[in-house]
């Protein structure tokens, strides 16, 4: 587990569902084939309506034309992030695009579980209105151990909610490593 996660923020609103994260028509690529898998990066967040893509201004592409990875590292979201289908392609595509953490007010539970158990990135929750304070492109740094976030662009700092028991799975890397380390398998 990294101690610090640093990079540019991509800001999204409430109820970002899995069809916006990865539209169903793209679910046909193999996640185990390295070349095909890249397509998930290319189409990550491609279902987000234009005006909601990269707040507060909107119309900010998450992935630049012709690219498979994003210039953004941390997604800042509102409530109920990742609602909708159980497709693990949703957290997977964000990781493939280069996302290392999401900081949202709340998550839909399957998306949250998938992110943790699959070891894709850390899904932090936050009480503060971070989503209203942050502009797409701001430079953020997360102190993972201290569970805090600083917006280097604005100079403001925030407390993140404690990860609770799932921190152990995150530390181990994924549910399999966790189960091995704790003697379950």
């Amino acid at each position: 587990m990294k101690k610090f996660i640093e990079g540019k923020a991509y800001v999204l609103g409430n109820d970002i569902d899995t069809d916006q994260i990865i539209p169903a028509e793209h679910l046909v690529y193999s996640l185990s084939d390295p070349e095909e898998k890249k397509n998930y990066g290319k189409f990550a967040l491609s279902g987000v309506p234009k005006n909601a893509a990269g707040l507060p201004d909107g119309s900010k592409s998450f992935i630049a034309e012709g690219k498979f990875e994003s210039e953004y590292t941390i997604i800042v979201g509102g409530k109920n992030f990742g609602c909708g289908s159980s497709r693990e392609h949703a957290p997977a595509c964000l990781k493939i695009a280069g996302i290392q953490a999401i900081v949202a007010s709340s998550y839909a539970r399957i998306f949250y579980r998938n992110s943790v158990d699959g070891g894709f990135f850390i899904p932090f929750e936050i009480q503060d209105q971070l989503v209203n304070d942050t502009r797409t492109g701001d430079n953020l740094i997360i102190d993972v151990e201290k569970e805090s976030l600083t917006n280097k662009t604005t100079g403001k700092s925030y407390k993140l909610n404690s990860l609770g028991e799932v921190i152990e799975i995150i530390r181990a890397g994924n549910i399999f490593e966790y189960a091995r380390q704790s003697g379950l398998i």
Binding site: D17, D19, A24, E25, L27, K79, G84, H89, N114, A179
Partner: protein
């Protein structure tokens, strides 16, 4: 302090006498279901983690039901089916409902029920968010991702955080123009799309217990649209009757204790319910159907695990019988059993299938079809700015294909009434 049904089932599967909400426990899994979209990913993680020659934890407990992207020329989608076939033969799995064979069923959540895989008191996980549908059988069921499913394939276990329960009680009787779909849209409209996040939606009350199994399944199906982890309806005679016809495996039943603790309780008077829709682009964007009567539609879509069961088509047929639709109307039975019912069951001496054909509807093969958009050649998929009234469960932007199309979620009655007029229509205008 007593326990809810959900707490009792989870406790029994964790080998404990008692569990409390918020507690993290490991449960033994009775059934793992996967389909063509998530099966291949699950299989590849399973092999990566447990080895190329690993065997699944219990052949009898794995159910694979291709249903999503099957009648398409898309080569990637077809490859998914090949991966499933290879895995099934290598592991010698008895419950595989292969497409293109006699054994094909269609939409997984309905096939699970019809093939006897839903049994009261059991724990069922599926790689599909609408796995909560099975809660209608008084069991614990919920959706998971590929990683969790692969973990179960290898170990037969999964960690669960015991959810708090929310109780929705409906007293009295539903008017005959009200369907389960109206009820769930009303409730989601009241609590919001994250109103039940991490929690159980438990349905009780005389009106609920008077519903047939298929209507109960509709109620539980959309718990996920309220963010719910699972939904549950206590098993009763109606459940036992249904299950008896489909399996003879033994099972246990559970009831919530009188003094069980709930996070939230709400009682509705069933007799005051009105037909509702969820307007674009969110399942909680509730409006009364009668308030939307000036909205013109281009299409009516009756299908999916939510609204493509026999009971749903029976309702639609009541309104379409002997009439002509005014807009393109798509009929998609959820499973082959439903399709056979359309072919065999009659109303006024005509089969339901003929009623739909004579009314000018287009009939699709049993599958998910356009419920989730899918490859470009999917039956009923939207491609432009269509306004659709649909019996499906999600109306997020692009869910049925085109991001520009607008989807109104509604009951089969409302979808059929609207098909006849070309605008969103309260079924009471026609049912009198």
């Amino acid at each position: 302090m007593g326990m809810t049904i959900t707490e009792k089932i989870l406790a029994a599967h964790a080998g404990k006498d008692k569990v409390s909400p918020g507690e993290t426990i490991w449960v033994d899994v009775d059934v793992l279901m996967t389909h063509d979209v998530c099966g291949p990913g699950t299989i590849s993680i399973f092999k990566e983690q447990f080895g190329k020659n690993a065997k699944v934890f219990d052949r009898e407990k794995v159910v694979i039901i291709p249903d999503h992207y099957i009648f398409t020329a898309d080569k990637h989608a077809n490859r998914n089916i090949d991966i499933l076939r290879e895995f099934v033969s290598e592991q010698d799995l008895p419950y595989y409902y292969d497409v293109g064979t006699e054994n094909y069923k269609g939409v997984c959540h309905i096939a699970l029920a019809q093939e006897g895989h839903n049994r009261p008191g059991e724990v069922l996980f599926g790689t599909d968010s609408h796995t909560c549908t099975s809660g209608a059988f008084g069991m614990f069921s919920t959706g998971i991702g590929n990683t969790d499913a692969a973990f179960i394939l290898g170990t037969g276990k999964l960690w669960v955080k015991v959810p708090e329960s929310m109780q929705f009680e409906f007293t009295g009787k539903f008017p005959d123009y009200i369907m389960a779909k109206d009820v769930i849209l009303q409730v989601i409209g009241d609590i919001g799309v994250d109103g039940a996040t991490y929690r159980t939606m438990e349905w009780t009350g005389e009106a609920i217990m008077n519903l047939p199994m298929e209507e109960r399944m509709t109620l539980c199906n959309m718990a996920i649209e309220g963010g719910g982890k699972n939904a549950v309806i206590a098993a009763d005679e109606v459940t036992f009757e249904y299950v008896k016809k489909r399996t003879n495996k033994p099972y246990n039943t559970y009831q919530s204790d009188q003094d069980a603790k709930y996070y939230f309780k709400k009682t509705y008077d069933a007799s005051t319910m009105e037909p509702v829709v969820a307007k674009p682009h969110s399942p909680d964007n509730k409006a009364l159907v009668k308030e939307c009567s000036d909205i013109k539609i281009d299409r009516s879509y009756i299908g999916s695990c939510t609204g493509g069961k026999y009971t749903d088509f029976l309702a639609a047929a009541k309104l379409l019988n002997g009439k002509k639709v005014a807009v393109s109307t798509f009929i998609v039975p959820a499973t082959t059993e439903v399709y056979n019912d359309l072919k065999n069951k009659t109303m006024d001496g005509k089969t339901l299938l003929n009623i739909f054909k004579d009314a000018g509807c287009e009939i699709g093969d049993a599958s998910c079809a356009a419920c989730l958009g899918g490859p470009k050649d999917t039956f009923g998929r939207t491609h432009g700015t269509e306004v659709v009234v649909s019996t499906t469960n999600r109306n997020f932007p692009g869910r049925m294909g085109s991001k520009q199309s607008e989807v109104y979620l509604a009951s089969p009655y409302t979808a059929a009434a609207s098909a006849l007029t070309g605008r969103i229509t309260d079924p009471r205008e026609m049912l009198s």
